[in-house]
């Protein structure tokens, strides 16, 4: 081997990866601060996290006008506007998660967990990487990075419920990762590549049935369905969303969906676009199962976090409904839904965090009885988010639902749209039940008012954070046009 010529250096264009690099650097900084500082301050952790997220957002924005190659770094990373928009959404959710988590740990009486910020940045970097990934190997690695960070975040407080949730999430998540990896192997066997663009080329024009590719897609779909918590791979969701600390539930319910759907869209609409007739029924079935199971089981819940978890399963189904339409029509509907869903789910779980108080004692639906008297602001916020989740105008949820249903109908899947409409009406019941409890009933005499419990300052700053998702939910509901143009530009995948 000695004396062999040095091979030429591969061409490296790393600008499209800048957001992830920034996040990784700041995650390292937070980790080293936690390890090396004698006494760590929660405010320093929060600042490290927020500065990292804002800088990553800035570099993402700069990439909006990127006119270099479509894929860089050995065709591993896509540089398109779809990736930029998904990243920005993820980073906003991450910032909200950091702020809510800071409030939560400051008041919960738990020991300040210095690992919260670095782990959340780890998860975010995995998520922003996965929406830009153009190579299934990298998609898998990003999926593992975000999953590992989320398992640990779930068990961060060390409470019994949190530990149990983390354990369940880990076991089932590892199982689904195995499916995903097997799917990558099968897709590689069928096409001889793991690059998404090359895979699309290899599958185009092959007239005969591609049994192996279809099997690969099916296994990949299992992995994705688990991550977006689509039925019948949703079993972990209620336990994990209930057991995890509420700000972390808020973060992961929104961000994991955005990330996994971002990656799924690239797999559906680029890698397997030639097999659209084969994957459409799979997406159809997942969507129908999710809306029905999520909506029906939510009715029976007595815990708010659990109810919102089932609602999140139903919303995964609505997004999948939009994705039955191949190409940019489906992407537009799904992207709008993801933006709206991120705003309303972060808001809803954030309000749950405000109401639940120290040690998450007040998370039963009964605890919301008469909330309008004891905490009118939290009740108003909760009402807004629940109306949006139910899809009632003039909220973002309504426009989002109209978009996905019309995309499905245009693609010829009107039965699925009909199922979606019927289950939406049924689902409105359990959202409205909470609103009725909050406004129409007197509080239980024993229930202490919230302000006594956590102090006015903590409550006000947590509520101030929730103004952001609340504003987004209303704005997107009343003036959806502000974002339609952006989403249209972002709905074209470059490859």
């Amino acid at each position: 081997m000695i004396g062999q010529a040095v091979l030429p250096t591969p061409e490296l264009v790393f600008e499209p990866l800048l957001p992830e690099l920034v996040l990784v650097v700041f995650a390292m900084a937070g980790l080293l601060y936690e390890a090396l500082a004698k006494r760590t301050e929660a405010v320093v952790h929060l600042s490290i996290g927020l500065v990292g997220v804002v800088l990553a957002g800035g570099t993402s924005l700069w990439l909006w006008d990127w006119d270099g190659p479509a894929t860089v770094l050995g065709d591993a990373v896509s540089a398109d506007r779809f990736a930029v928009l998904a990243r920005l959404l993820l980073l906003v959710v991450a910032a909200l998660g950091l702020l809510l988590g800071h409030q939560y740990f400051a008041r919960s009486g738990d020991e300040q967990r210095g690992e919260f910020t670095p782990l959340l940045l780890f998860a975010t970097s995995g998520m922003t990487l996965i929406v830009a990934s153009a190579d299934l190997i990298l998609t898998f690695l990003a999926l593992e990075i975000l999953s590992l960070a989320l398992y640990v975040l779930t068990g961060l407080t060390g409470r019994r419920a949190a530990n149990e949730a983390a354990m369940k999430y880990f076991l089932l998540g590892a199982f689904s990762s195995a499916f995903f990896l097997y799917g990558v192997a099968m897709a590689y066997g069928a096409t001889g590549t793991t690059k998404i663009a090359a895979m699309a080329l290899a599958l185009t024009g092959t007239g005969e049935a591609q049994a192996l590719a279809v099997l690969g897609f099916a296994l990949l779909a299992v992995g994705f369905a688990f991550k977006v918590s689509a039925a019948p791979f949703h079993m972990w969701t209620p336990d994990v969303y209930q057991g995890a600390p509420t700000p972390i539930t808020a973060f992961m319910s929104a961000a994991t969906k955005v990330a996994a759907f971002g990656a799924l869209i690239r797999v559906l609409d680029v890698a397997f676009q030639a097999l659209a007739w084969d994957w459409a029924p799979v997406v159809w079935g997942l969507a129908a199962a999710s809306v029905v199971i999520g909506s029906i089981l939510a009715i029976a819940q007595t815990n708010v976090k659990r109810m919102l978890a089932y609602s999140s399963i139903a919303h995964a189904g609505f997004i999948l409904t939009g994705l039955t339409a191949a190409g940019s029509a489906g992407i537009r509907a799904a992207m709008f839904y993801l933006v709206a869903y991120a705003a309303m789910t972060v808001g809803a779980f954030g309000t749950v965090m405000v109401v639940s108080g120290r040690g998450e004692k007040r998370t039963r639906i009964g605890d919301y009885t008469g909330l309008a008297r004891t905490n009118p602001i939290a009740a108003a916020l909760m009402t807004l988010f629940l109306l949006s989740l139910a899809g009632i105008p003039p909220t973002a949820g309504f426009i989002a639902k109209v978009n996905v249903f019309s995309a499905a109908i245009d693609a010829g899947y009107w039965v699925l749209a009909l199922i979606g409409v019927v289950t939406s009406v049924a689902a409105a019941f359990f959202y409205l039940r909470v609103i009725v409890l909050m406004y129409m009933q007197e509080p239980e005499p024993a229930a202490p008012s919230l302000t006594e419990k956590v102090g006015i300052g903590a409550e006000n700053s947590a509520t101030a954070i929730l103004a952001i998702p609340a504003a987004a939910t209303l704005l997107l509901g009343v003036f959806p046009g502000v974002i339609v143009g952006i989403i249209r530009d972002a709905s074209v995948l470059r490859w």
Binding site: M1, L7, P10, L12, L17, V24, L31, L73, G74, A76, V77, D110, E111, R113, E115, P118, L119, F122, S125, G126, L129, D135, I137, L138, L141, A142, E144, I145, L148, A149, Y151, V152, G155, L156, T157, G158, R159, R160, A162, N163, A166, G189, A190, A211, L212, L215
Partner: protein, 166 residues
């Protein structure tokens, strides 16, 4: 049959039998030891296929580390180590699913790569070939692995701490 095919027959038989023994063993430690044999035969199959690096990684990581962690796990938990502790009522469902998956995969793979097809150009996966590919074509995934390992390490430490919340 050639020498390679004989070798494959022997390795496949040993691997399948020990894999079945893993799930039927009554003693969980025995199951772990059968797993060593099963994983060794997978490694040997990789070697037979010319995937030298993958074969040795399989042996070093899985046999050398993962199974050891299994045994550690058995000692760390209160799980009883002994006879008759591994039975569970879902075993027939599991058998059915396993048989179904096997039949499906066997059909699909022989459908995709029929015996009378053109033989493949076999890629000899020696360590240097793997190295060139990994460090030139897969630069980013390689660095992502490092980040993944970092996340795993932090996670292991954070979760191993005493639970103070209760």
């Amino acid at each position: 049959m050639t020498a390679q095919e004989y070798a494959f027959a022997v390795i496949a038989a040993v691997g399948s039998i020990s894999a079945i023994a893993v799930v039927t063993a009554r003693n969980v430690v025995h199951a772990a030891l059968y797993l060593v044999v099963a994983l060794l035969s997978v490694g040997a199959t990789f070697l037979l296929l010319g995937a030298e690096f993958a074969g040795w990684v399989q042996i070093l990581i899985y046999v050398g580390a993962i199974v050891i962690l299994f045994l550690f796990g058995l000692m760390l938990t209160k799980a009883p180590i002994g006879r008759d502790t591994l039975d569970n009522t879902h075993r027939w469902v599991g058998l059915l699913v396993a048989a179904g998956v096997f039949a499906g995969l066997a059909f699909l793979i022989q459908d995709a790569f029929p015996l009378d097809a053109e033989p493949f150009e076999v890629f000899h996966g020696s360590t240097s070939v793997v190295g060139e590919s990994m460090f030139r074509d897969f630069v980013l995934p390689f660095e992502a692995i490092s980040f993944l390992l970092l996340a795993a390490l932090i996670g292991a430490i954070v979760l191993a701490r005493k639970d103070e919340g209760n």
